[in-house]
């Protein structure tokens, strides 16, 4: 019964109402859904397995897409420099990009929400300490921090070992580099909520700060967190692509979209443009639909987001 009630509430909500009246949001959501499903079903949806070296032949390297001369219907979008089917490699690469993006955002959200709640609720020294820290980190820009940390780690442990831990490392470094946005946004909402009567009432009843923060204030701060998360997933995917493009992210044998673009760039000047262009287009579409959804959500939910 309860679930049914929730479903009805959702069906009658303004959120859904405006979604169904915004073609851009609907198309973006549909594309994102298709891309995500295709990416997560990569072993089924991709024609070949790019990680399986036994099926790859260097003889097939740098084949153009099938509608060009020299292309083969076996490889719809052509092959990359090692003879991997480009379409399959892109699907697997997109899966890596999406996983890293989502996990990095989960990490930064967890950190940012915790810090933002504590800083906003307790105020005082804890607050000014964390906000100064956020200021300083933001002034260095998340990408700079991520690039520098990856560069130093790669120099410290060597390329080989770096490649082994690339996925968890990228998640951690992108997650740690971007927590300030969350912390500031959550803190601002907490400061606004804290003054309201229901919080005072909860305090008078004698609830502990922990309970008030998590059960009472946090649920009322969700809409900015929601909007921010959407934009941050796009940011995280973009950061991952940038790091991989610089050779500080996913290695060529397990490429993400960024590393594929990097591989292709070396071959582009000799005419093999497709290795760079197709992953590039896919990356742009992926980021664009997430950004469009984020924009739409910001218009609908209209939270107070931190500027800058």
């Amino acid at each position: 019964m309860k679930l049914k009630g929730k479903w009805r509430a959702f069906r009658d909500s303004y959120f859904l109402y405006s979604f169904l009246r915004d073609p851009v949001a609907m198309v973006s959501f549909a594309i994102l859904l298709v891309l995500t499903v295709v990416a997560f079903l990569a072993p089924i949806s991709a024609p070949y397995d790019p990680y399986d070296t036994s099926t790859i032949s260097v003889m097939d390297a740098e084949m153009p897409p099938m509608w060009y001369e020299g292309g083969s219907p076996e490889f719809i979008l052509g092959t990359d420099d090692q003879g991997r089917d480009l379409l399959s490699t892109m699907i697997y690469g997109m899966r890596v990009s999406i996983i890293i993006g989502l996990a990095a955002v989960a990490l930064q959200a967890a950190l940012g929400v915790l810090i933002g709640l504590v800083a906003g609720y307790f105020g005082g020294r804890i607050d000014s300490f964390f906000m100064r820290l956020a200021d300083v980190q933001l002034s260095f820009s998340y990408l700079m921090v991520a690039i520098f940390v990856s560069a130093v780690l790669q120099a410290a442990i060597g390329v080989g070992r770096f490649e082994e831990i690339a996925v968890p490392f990228l998640i951690v470094v992108i997650g740690l580099a971007q927590w300030p946005q969350y912390a500031r946004t959550v803190r601002a909402s907490v400061l606004a909520e804290k003054k309201k009567e229901y919080v005072e009432a909860a305090r008078v009843i004698g609830f502990r700060p922990n309970r008030i923060m998590w059960r009472h204030i946090l649920p009322n701060c969700l809409s900015p967190i929601f909007v921010l998360s959407t934009i941050q997933v796009a940011n995280a995917i973009m950061s991952e692509a940038a790091l991989s493009f610089l050779g500080l992210g996913m290695p060529p044998h397990k490429p993400s979209l960024g590393s594929l673009i990097n591989i292709g760039f070396e071959y582009m000047l000799s005419g093999s443009w497709w290795i760079t262009l197709f992953p590039g287009i896919l990356l742009v579409i992926l980021i664009l639909v997430i950004n469009l959804l984020g924009d739409w959500m910001r218009d609908v939910l209209n939270p107070k987001l931190y500027k800058g």
Partner: protein, 324 residues
């Protein structure tokens, strides 16, 4: 005001202190300077002697103090690859990056202000919609992809523009400038456009939303009621107040721009700091990495402190809320 400045400067010094600790930690833990200097044929005993001589066996605080003292005098160690002081290598490459950032900032300022203001004044106009639609696409294209596509179209296919390097440069009092020769400018166009491509949409959107907020405010309504000319209201009354938040965001964006110079310079093999940094990473040139960290950190800290102070000077609200 003075208290505000002192506090900001103290914070800047603290940040530089932390950067120096990070820099020292990297230098201390990553790579072995003795192995970098000597060849394979040098015996273990000689290596030990060299370690002693270089002070690598001193207590860690003594070493840190020496690092700090040298850094304060502009000595950040010797680059293993260039066999030159790292500071000198950095200073030699800095003009290339500064020119690139300068030209792309010009592009950003001269395009984002008119476009953003126009989109704010006429939000329903088709051109504004085009600009806003274009800007969200612009935000979604990674800077290295813009660079690659530009290279492919204008260098590989059309052959109009050179695809890499700085072209002909002229040495003006030790400053290698590419801005005074036609060849240098031609080399600069594509990198500058790529670098500005990510910031431009951000600034257009920022200026538009700030300007729209200002246009809604009471004093603008009063100005209309008073019968002032539209141009005067938009340009003098509204635009001035739009600039305030834009300045602060501009300061923060500098950090991001420097991060993006690494990407742009890698694509165009632009002989600037970003390219130098990536080379240093590939060669594990620790001294150069640390020098880059300290140099870029210093630039960002100085710029951000200045921006904050200027902002506090123009807008007293900032320093008053800062006091509480």
């Amino acid at each position: 005001m003075i208290a505000f400045i002192v506090r900001r400067v103290a914070q800047a010094v603290l940040v530089m202190f932390i950067i120096s600790i990070v820099g020292f930690a990297i230098k201390h833990n990553v790579g072995d300077p003795v192995r970098m200097i000597t060849g394979i044929s040098v015996s273990e005993a000689e290596r030990e002697e060299l370690r002693e001589e270089m002070g690598l066996k001193d207590p860690i605080l003594t070493q840190y103090w020496r690092f700090l003292k040298n850094a304060a005098q502009g000595d950040l160690g010797t680059s293993y690859f260039y066999h030159k002081p790292a500071t000198r290598v950095i200073l030699e490459k800095a003009p290339a990056t500064i020119e690139l950032v300068f030209v792309s900032s010009l592009i950003i300022v001269f395009l984002s202000v008119p476009l953003g203001v126009f989109a704010a004044i006429y939000p329903k106009n088709w051109f504004s919609r085009l600009v806003m639609g274009g800007s969200i696409i612009g935000v979604s294209i990674p800077v290295f992809l813009t660079a690659i596509v530009l290279v492919y179209i204008f260098s590989v296919e059309l052959g109009w523009m050179p695809s890499f390097g700085r072209g002909e440069t002229v040495n003006i009092y030790g400053w290698e400038s590419g801005l005074v020769t036609w060849d240098g400018i031609k080399h600069l166009i594509l990198p500058a456009i790529s670098l500005s491509s990510i910031m431009l949409p951000l600034f257009i959107r920022l200026i538009r939303s700030e300007m729209m907020e200002v246009l809604e405010s009471e004093y603008i309504k009063f100005a209309w009621a008073k019968g002032l000319k539209p141009k005067r209201i938009w340009m003098i009354h509204a635009f001035k107040n739009t600039l305030l938040p834009v300045i602060t965001v501009g300061g923060v964006q500098l950090g991001i721009t420097i991060a993006f110079t690494i990407l742009t310079e890698t694509v165009f093999q632009w002989q600037g700091l970003g390219f130098l940094f990536m080379e240093a990473v590939e060669r594990s040139d620790t001294s150069l990495l640390v020098a880059y960290l300290v140099f870029v950190g210093l630039v960002m800290v100085v710029v951000n402190t200045l921006v904050d102070i200027i902002y506090g000077w123009i807008n007293p609200q900032v320093r008053i809320t800062g006091v509480e």
